[in-house]
């Protein structure tokens, strides 16, 4: 990963934090000042989806052409995505407690996020219970693809069918024009980009470490021989 990309990510995050706290925001009832949480809570959710998609991508690549490196990548992306997902759920709970009245409000999107987290927790349980490296990689790649496909209706279809407390309920699950005016987009999109980059950076560190660990294990094996 190039250094300038990292610096760009850091700058984007700094901008998002300053502008997110200081810029004018729409004055809306109920959410009041907490509308600013959009800048910090929503990027976690986007980051999670991005990282899980990357993990899915590497799992598919692995099944097409197995190699240890691809498995390490899929695993690391899933790991970081899980961290983002947990943070997204926790921040969402704080915000929900303030605006909807209780931390867990049975909102379809909230449930969808919780289930996505469950899927990847199951993914790591699965990885933990197989000893053979090659088999572990293959089975977890299969589960990753299968579980992701099973989550599609849960995350992208059910929220559209049922009423959601999130903005843009029914119809479009994203933000629509009235929920997010152009000033907020100016902060939200850079924040999402910034977190993508930071997430990718964290993942790349983890990938490096896992690779080195693997090389060390190989060296040990050679010594024993």
């Amino acid at each position: 990963m190039k250094t300038w990309i990292k610096i760009l990510g850091v700058l984007l995050l700094f901008y998002a934090h300053i502008a997110g706290l200081l810029m004018e925001v729409p004055r809306l009832n109920i959410v009041n000042e907490t509308i600013r949480a959009t800048y910090f809570h929503v990027p976690m959710w986007f980051g999670m989806v991005f990282l899980f998609l990357m993990s899915l991508y590497y799992s598919i690549l692995y099944l097409r052409k197995p190699s240890l490196e691809l498995d390490i990548k899929a695993e690391s992306f899933a790991h970081a995505g899980l961290a983002f997902g947990i943070l997204g759920i926790l921040t969402g709970m704080i915000w929900a407690n303030y605006t909807w009245g209780s931390p867990w409000h049975g909102d379809p999107k909230q449930n969808g996020a919780a289930i996505a987290t469950l899927v990847y927790l199951a993914y790591f349980v699965l990885r933990g219970s197989i000893d053979n490296m090659e088999q572990k990689a293959r089975l977890s790649a299969v589960y990753n693809i299968f579980a992701f496909a099973a989550m599609i209706p849960l995350i992208f279809i059910i929220p559209r069918l049922t009423d959601s407390l999130h903005p843009g309920n029914g119809g479009n699950p994203g933000f629509n024009m009235y929920d997010l005016d152009s000033r907020m987009r100016l902060v939200l999109y850079p924040a999402i980009m910034g977190w993508f980059i930071i997430g990718y950076w964290m993942v790349s560190l983890r990938i490096k470490l896992s690779k080195q660990l693997d090389i060390l294990l190989d060296l040990e094996d050679e010594k024993l021989k």
């Binding site: 934090h17 729409p26 930071i198």
Partner: protein
Amino acid sequence: MKNLNKALLSLLLTFLITFSSQGQDAEMADVMRSEGKIYVVVAIILLVLAGLILYLFLLDKKVTNLERMINEKRKTK
């Protein structure tokens, strides 16, 4: 072009209408802003963020070092 202008204008109008009708009376932390104390909060949050990112940078450096060392060791064998 004319159509675009018209669309933009109507968009702007809907914004104005929604925001003016959606109540300037919604309660915001205006006092905190006017006293300038919000800058204290911003400074603290930024410092925490900067610290964490510095930590990440140092960790990155350390891992890269480790990578180089292991590579050298492997070559010498």
